[in-house]
Symmetry: C2
Subunit: 365 residues, 2 copies
Amino acid sequence: MQDITNESGKLSINLKALADNYRTFQSITPNHCDVAGVIKANAYGLGATEVFKTLKALNCPQFFVATLDEALTLRKNDSDTPIAVLGGLFNGAEDAYMQSNIVPVLNSPFEIEKWAEMAKRSDKKLPTIIHFDTAMNRLGLSTEETHALLDDVSALDGLDVQLIMSHFACADEKDHELTEEQANRFAKIAKHFPHAKKSLANSPGLFSSDTYHYDLVRPGYALYGGNPTPHANNPMKTVVSLKVRILQIREAKKGDSIGYAASHTFEKDTRTATVALGYADGFLRSLSGKAKLYYDGTPCEVLGRVSMDLTSINIDHIPHAKPGDWVEILGDNQNVDELADTCGTIGYEILTNLGQRYKRQYIDI
Amino acid sequence: MQDITNESGKLSINLKALADNYRTFQSITPNHCDVAGVIKANAYGLGATEVFKTLKALNCPQFFVATLDEALTLRKNDSDTPIAVLGGLFNGAEDAYMQSNIVPVLNSPFEIEKWAEMAKRSDKKLPTIIHFDTAMNRLGLSTEETHALLDDVSALDGLDVQLIMSHFACADEKDHELTEEQANRFAKIAKHFPHAKKSLANSPGLFSSDTYHYDLVRPGYALYGGNPTPHANNPMKTVVSLKVRILQIREAKKGDSIGYAASHTFEKDTRTATVALGYADGFLRSLSGKAKLYYDGTPCEVLGRVSMDLTSINIDHIPHAKPGDWVEILGDNQNVDELADTCGTIGYEILTNLGQRYKRQYIDI
């Protein structure tokens, strides 16, 4: 790796691997099935603008973000690629959506009503996406609201329902009974919309069963290299690599403690390294005393508490390490799922919190 | 609060309260003692540029950041305010420091050597800050290195040692024996530098004992409203307030589950709200099922798992809540320490990870 003297860390994002992951989704779904670009939360922390551009070059036909602000950021350099906002429609935000050619995913009868009013006001058949909740109880039309809508579809007058969707709660757990139940509920709803496209599968759903593919799959986590099949080997290519530099090498004495709260005491003299990585960089404080970083492929355990800007590791077995050398947090030796496992969270949280403080280096498609 | 239709969240930073906190530090330290501006990690996540400007207006004489990049960002609009980099000096970075008029905190004999070489090359007496480690085992000269330097100070030739410093490991624990021991060690070192200013106290150190004040205190957390005296009431003013909007109201049925992994099951029919807040916004996933948000002062418990962009709360006791309404995460009803407590972390981690996704609103001094 090139040694840039003044940098303390480097976040490398491999857009070529990301593109390969996208092609993998295309290859395992039928020809009529599209693959959406899920680029909410700044493309899971990796840079929405760059990922948007990469997937557009692969003819990705539909993008999803979480908030209108995220969509507007993408609209700055693109006026017509389909972008939908999963968070739905605030009362009074209809004009902002219309003017920017952005589509809200409608999550409730109230949002449908507001969007239909906008259609009437503008005298246009507005592109429409409806989210039916099938078990998440988070966003989307409830069972009662769904039945009411299907009994009387006049609420949809003036709307061009192009897509209906739902979202899995437990698809990452192998053969979870709720997944099949959600799929059955969605299948029943889908029959009422013969002309709309259907979308059900997130990353784990996409890899669980062909019957979940429908017309559009929405893999997010897997696109960024996360394992969509936690019970099996990861079929995705690694997209993210994060390395930071050693600031200082130290020789701790037997009986010394290290870090805040003096939470780790040395049982013998130990060579340690302090690296430019802290919880302000998204290296969760719950990784204290648990995670491993890698020096040239060799694991080094984190010693004591992770602090805001600094983390200490054991390098007693690496006598040649010196200040300025790089250690790996994510990459060939450790992926996001593995790092997340060490502190009981999920790789999604690791990805979306990766520090703003590091220079980002994009490996282009 | 003003209702901005398209926004899903709002992070408000009260620079007036921050300035009051700074004045509090001035009022409880002697006249000869300066108060540094610790603005590393983007001023604990709140915006280094704005905090820098605010503290400069209060004649703050010395700033600290963690990395050279952070210092260079501040130098874009300011050529001469003293800024020091706690992370120290990478081999070869001396020129970058010199040219930008930024001072590295020297953490090792090697860094002292490099800085002295730079002084010789440039034929200037370079401003110098030395960090002596007194127990953290993280950065700074070790006991052996300290003794060696004090025995032979020729390594400091050409350097103008303006400040020496150390850092407490356990000052937030009342009367921790290590704190007094560190203070004693530092006092012994200090005697060898009669002409340099001395700095020892971080936020909790500043409030623990007058004897830790010396010539410069370095409160970080307390400046941003965190409690520097965890065993007592918080003497600081609240600086941060974070509110997000309700996206949807739902009526969950007895026996329904909610969120990923269906981890919460309802024992009775329950009115819930889904709000625009997730772990991608720095609302840690470990807050799942534990934290409380506040609707107009009334606590509402988080239900099930926090997801990337969404969190569900119980609003069964608030029949009038509606989509678009605001709920408080941090502010008058809940401060960073309280929120951190609910998931076993510290407020520092909450602050430094506060989402990039929200509009920041600064209340000016």
